[in-house]
Amino acid sequence: MIGSFRQSMTWLHTWAGLIFCWILYFMFVTGTLGYFDDEIDQWMMPERPAMQLTSVEKSIATAVPFLEQEASDASRWFIALATDRNEPLLRVFWNTPAAEEGGEATNDNKLLDVSTGTAVDESVNASGGGQVLYRMHYILHYIDRDLAYRLIGVLTFLMFVGIVSGIVAHKKIFKDFFTFRTSKGQRSWLDMHNLLSVSTLPFQIMITYSGLIFMIVTWMPGIALGTYGFDAKKLQADGSQLLGQTELEKSGEAAPLADLTAVAKLAETRLGEGNIAGFNIEYPGDANARITVNGKSAGLSRFANRVVFDGTTGEITDDSEIELNTSVNIAATAIGLHEGLFAGTLLRWLYFLSGLLGTAMVATGAIYWTIKRRPADGSKASFAYRFVECVNIGTIVGLLIAVAAYFWANRLLPEDLANRADWEVHTMFIVWALTLLYPILRSASQAWRELTWLAAFSYAALPLISVFTVEQHLFNFSEHGRWTLAGFELTCLFTAGALLVASRYIAKPTASKEIDKEEDGSLIPVVGK
């Protein structure tokens, strides 16, 4: 489009990157925190039982009576066993069909405390926890879920275009990788952006392309539909056949549900001892009831095998091994890699670190954009330039403050506040809005420095706030011994320290406005300037 292919790609990288970089940054921040979603849950709801790994028999003995009592008219029950960090507690789900014609079907779920046999009270100190925070990275907040999902698909695609065009734009990718010029102003920001991007490139490609794979049904249904001559039924039939799913009709005749404990015993002979993740029970109490016992997924892939039972006799009706085709396997593995549910503690931290580096990649790219276009001394910045600068500051540092505010709100909002969990999120976005406005009042370097200090303070204060608001905190760790809580608060302190260090560098005036035309080759002025 302009000059050589590489120059066009630099243009594309710059603009595909800049135009939505703040939402990408938001996705990176909330998504990265998502690798510790369950740990954040624990910190935000410390009174909840932390983890109850228990026998299948005991889980069934808790879940089934509860469902019989609360969801006797449900069309489906799902019992998700407490298995590991990802599913720390027993949870039951149920779908209730519409009571009358034209009504709406509903679904509900409850966490169960196996020690008391009752539902965990989620109304006192209600909190969105890490789940609400991490879900924002793919459904945003305040806007319609489907719309958000579509929007995120577009952004993820732009991110992928940004990555590939960024690689192409980079003439000397390996040489530059080993080049880091500190205190060289503009050049240092570019070097930093390159270093962050190239060193984490496999992760960035994996996370972005697998993010797109989540979007296949939303954005690329056309290929599958078209290949089947736009016959959705035939496509669905082939898909169900692959996954070994068959339709089930309710008979209307009542019949008692088979003994789940016996079913579980039998299922373990096929899936392996202790390898049950959950029970899917369709039409419980009906003569046509069906029980599907899901195994735990092995390895990276999210896919797991299952055994199907007759829901009244408790006999196996289908224990065939499902053979996924290569492409579906690749997709399942990519999704598994994206979610990283298989990761143990060390690998989880690596995921978190990679996410942070990706976050920093987006941030340094956005900062570089403004530094490169910084108006000469004394001349007035255009409105567009000033806008980007302010949103950069208000997002790159401001969002970090907003996330801290989400945690502050969790500790400080009154226990019995109506819609308490919603108010945690409102607090986060109100604070973000304020940090977006603040840079308007200050010069760029003042705003960078002051907001970074505020961010450092807001994280440093979190462990102290805990001392006054909850029973278990960092300073009585020896009494409760919960590493998750201590780890969260230590991470907050570490974050505060890192932000303090950053504040010393981030607003340093550029030493020299050295422009390296030859090496950079991407001197493109702002469109419309």
Partner: protein, 103 residues
């Protein structure tokens, strides 16, 4: 070299964005359908395997198409090539659907 590095005009950008969003996107779908049908009819894959393969890599095809759209010099070439691509892949897909008796 420096002379050619002007900022692209506004119309240039808008036109290419539209080209990427509409004909570019349709082209990726048509190409994906044609590819899946070729795999299913001539390589012996099951239809569902072929569809899964084609769809899985569709975002990579799309990336290539978008990068190409933003690298070509003239708008004329962008639109004419996209149009030609659509006719070829769309025609191929349609022909294969008729050939295998789906349509």
């Amino acid at each position: 070299m420096a002379k050619s590095l002007r900022a692209p005009g506004r119309w240039h950008v808008t036109s290419r964005v539209i080209a990427a969003l509409i004909p570019g996107f349709v082209l990726v779908n048509a190409f994906g359908i044609a590819l899946a049908l070729i795999l299913a009819n001539f390589i012996g894959w099951s239809k569902f395997d072929a569809v899964a393969f084609s769809t899985l890599w569709s975002f990579a095809f799309y990336t290539a198409v978008v990068m190409w759209i933003f690298s070509v010099k003239t708008l004329r070439k962008v639109w004419l090539t996209l149009l030609a691509g659509l006719v070829v892949t769309g025609g191929l897909a349609y022909g294969l659907l008729v050939f295998e008796g789906t349509l």
